[in-house]
């Protein structure tokens, strides 16, 4: 017990010093940041008035040194609610939805102001917003449309490059879907609410969300973000052509371009859809449920015949590649080395891809060129596979010969041993 007593004094001294130290630390730390008394109360309040220090510290504005007062006005240095939330200090209180774009734009559309933070940030967002469906409807009195804070979040706003940001490419579709997939919310607006569900089934969603390919399109890629609006029937193929340049080039020169334009049909979307864009299959050239050509063309006419020809040719190449693959696999499992031919199969597959892309030119002669090139390569590889099997059989024959010789020696030895010991 005496020990405790003696050490108690030391314990108290340590406690005192550490408390002082912590205080000094707090003072030092808080000195660097701007005083923000708002959070002292508001962090203890509940929604919708609650904003904790933890939440706000995630916000990029806070990290750049801005405070609550930067948007809401008021005096952040005072602890007295009368003073800090006084209109004399410029306090705005809760910003009305209609005012939000203007408020954000007051900094974000000011190039000379934004320059001090990030000179390469765009400053045309507000202008774009005014051209968007959201902006126009807001101006017409619709308060349900999206404003800046609906997409970007508020008080914990992160830069778009942050994967946790609501406007990071991997999260954009979810953010848009908050309204656009909510049938109740969208009542009174004349657009469908199945886009998100359709997009989820699409190949672009697979690429972005499952494979993590950040170059894959999400809602804003085709619709724009601040100037969000559907591309328009006569312009949608321009949007697709940003990535799918080859197909677009061919389509532009094709017969279908003018034909669709005349009918006011939206280019690429006619065959491929807009949101539920699935991986194209050869069945699209067919006559079954996935057939696209036969939606317009009549059975038996010139185009139907051309379509049938295309389908046959593409199918033929596909089969040729598969049988070459099979032959090579058989050779490999028998122990033959065919890695070079396997590599050449990639070239054949490239030809098949090119042939499928060339379909967008709607010219059977061009498609045929690619098919012929591919068939040649696939035939060569099939030959290699067959030759490998012939070589394998030759090896086994050679083995047989040497086994016979070995057998003869074994018999001879047996006889010889018998002879000298008999």
């Amino acid at each position: 017990m005496a020990i405790l007593r003696n050490s108690f004094g030391a314990f108290r001294a340590v406690r005192c010093i550490s408390r002082a130290g912590l205080l000094a630390l707090a003072v030092c730390l808080s000195h660097g940041q701007n005083a923000n008394s708002c959070l002292d109360c508001h962090s203890a309040l509940s929604d919708p008035l609650g904003v904790t220090q933890e939440k706000f510290s995630q916000d990029i504005h806070a990290q750049k040194g801005l405070t609550c007062a930067s948007c809401h006005g008021g005096d952040p240095t005072s602890d007295d609610p009368e003073k800090s939330m006084s209109p004399k200090a410029g306090w705005k209180g809760k910003i009305e939805r209609k005012q939000i774009p203007q408020l954000c734009g007051s900094c974000h559309s000011d190039p000379s102001y934004m320059r001090q933070f990030n000179p390469s940030l765009r400053t045309d967002q507000l202008g774009q917003y005014h051209t968007s469906v959201h902006g126009q409807r807001l101006a017409a009195g619709d308060n349900k449309v999206a404003v800046c804070t609906d997409c970007h979040s508020v008080h914990d706003l992160r830069a778009p490059s942050d994967p946790r940001s609501t406007v990071n490419p991997v999260n954009v579709a979810n953010t848009c879907a908050r309204c656009h997939a909510d049938a109740d919310y969208m009542k009174g607006h004349s657009i469908p609410t199945d886009q998100f569900a359709k997009y989820r089934a699409s190949v672009h969603y697979q690429a972005l969300m499952v494979r993590g390919d950040l170059s894959a399109p999400t809602c804003s890629t085709c619709h724009g973000n601040h100037g969000a609006a559907p591309p328009g029937v006569d312009r949608v193929q321009n949007v697709c052509s940003n990535c799918h340049a080859f197909q677009a080039q061919m389509y532009e020169k094709s017969s279908h371009r003018e034909a669709f334009k005349a009918e006011s049909l939206p280019g690429c979307v006619v065959c491929h859809g807009n949101h539920a864009i699935a991986h194209p299959t050869d069945a699209m050239l067919g006559t079954g449920p996935d057939a696209v050509c036969m939606r317009c063309h009549k059975p038996g006419d010139q185009c139907d015949q051309a379509r049938a020809g295309l389908q046959t040719d593409v199918g033929r190449l596909h089969e040729a590649i598969q049988s070459a693959d099979q032959a090579l696999r058989l050779a490999e499992s028998s122990g033959m080395e065919v890695s070079e031919a396997r590599l050449a199969q990639d070239q054949a597959r490239d030809s098949l891809t090119k042939a499928r892309v060339t379909i967008h030119s709607f010219r059977t002669d061009l498609v045929n060129q690619e098919i012929q090139a591919g068939m040649k390569i696939a035939a060569q590889n099939l030959q290699t596979g067959k030759e490998a099997m012939i070589e394998r059989n030759r090896r086994r024959a050679g083995l047989g010969v040497s086994l016979i010789a070995i057998g003869m020696v074994l018999v001879g030895l047996r006889l010889y041993i018998k002879k000298i010991e008999g």
């Binding site: 894959a216 590599l343 050679g398 040497s402 001879g412 010889y416 002879k419």
Partner: protein
């Protein structure tokens, strides 16, 4: 005890043994030596394609054009610049592995699949590709253009 009626007389017996033993030995040695001797002869194709390969001959490429060549197990792109110098890179696009091509109009490397663009240093400058193309060493040997993998550090 061997019954002399059943076993052949000594001479024939001896011949049989000789044939099997001697003949078998000869045949088996031949079947071992033949592959070994064939093995010792170097094959016609000397290069292994792994580290170094002759991608083309000097006269083959005009300035501002390119050619695909096989390098190890992947395709490579040999570019002859407008000023006559050569550049060799991997031709496998870093996005979804399509084979890239040289665009003499853009003086850049283009991937047809999703419009990806690389500069002549292999850097991915636009479009989906997430990483640059691997660059190889090129040098001339006589009238051959030889491409090497870059030396391992």
């Amino acid at each position: 005890m061997t019954d002399s009626r059943l076993s052949p007389p000594g001479g024939t017996r001896r011949r049989i043994v000789e044939i099997f033993f001697g003949g078998g030995l000869l045949a088996s040695f031949a079947s071992f030596l033949y592959p070994v001797l064939r093995y010792l002869i170097p094959p016609a194709v000397p290069d292994l394609g792994g580290d170094e390969i002759v991608a083309a001959k000097v006269a083959e490429l005009k300035p501002n054009s390119a050619k695909i060549f096989r390098f190890g197990s992947r395709p490579g792109l040999l570019v002859r610049n407008a000023d006559g110098t050569y550049r060799a890179l991997s031709a496998t696009c870093t996005h979804l592995s399509c084979t890239v091509q040289y665009r003499s109009d853009l003086r850049q490397i283009w991937c047809a699949c999703h419009n990806g663009i690389y500069d002549l240093n292999g850097r991915n400058v636009s479009g989906p590709p997430p990483r640059p193309l691997e660059v190889f060493d090129v040098h001339l040997r006589g009238d051959e253009i030889v491409v090497n993998r870059k030396r391992e550090a």
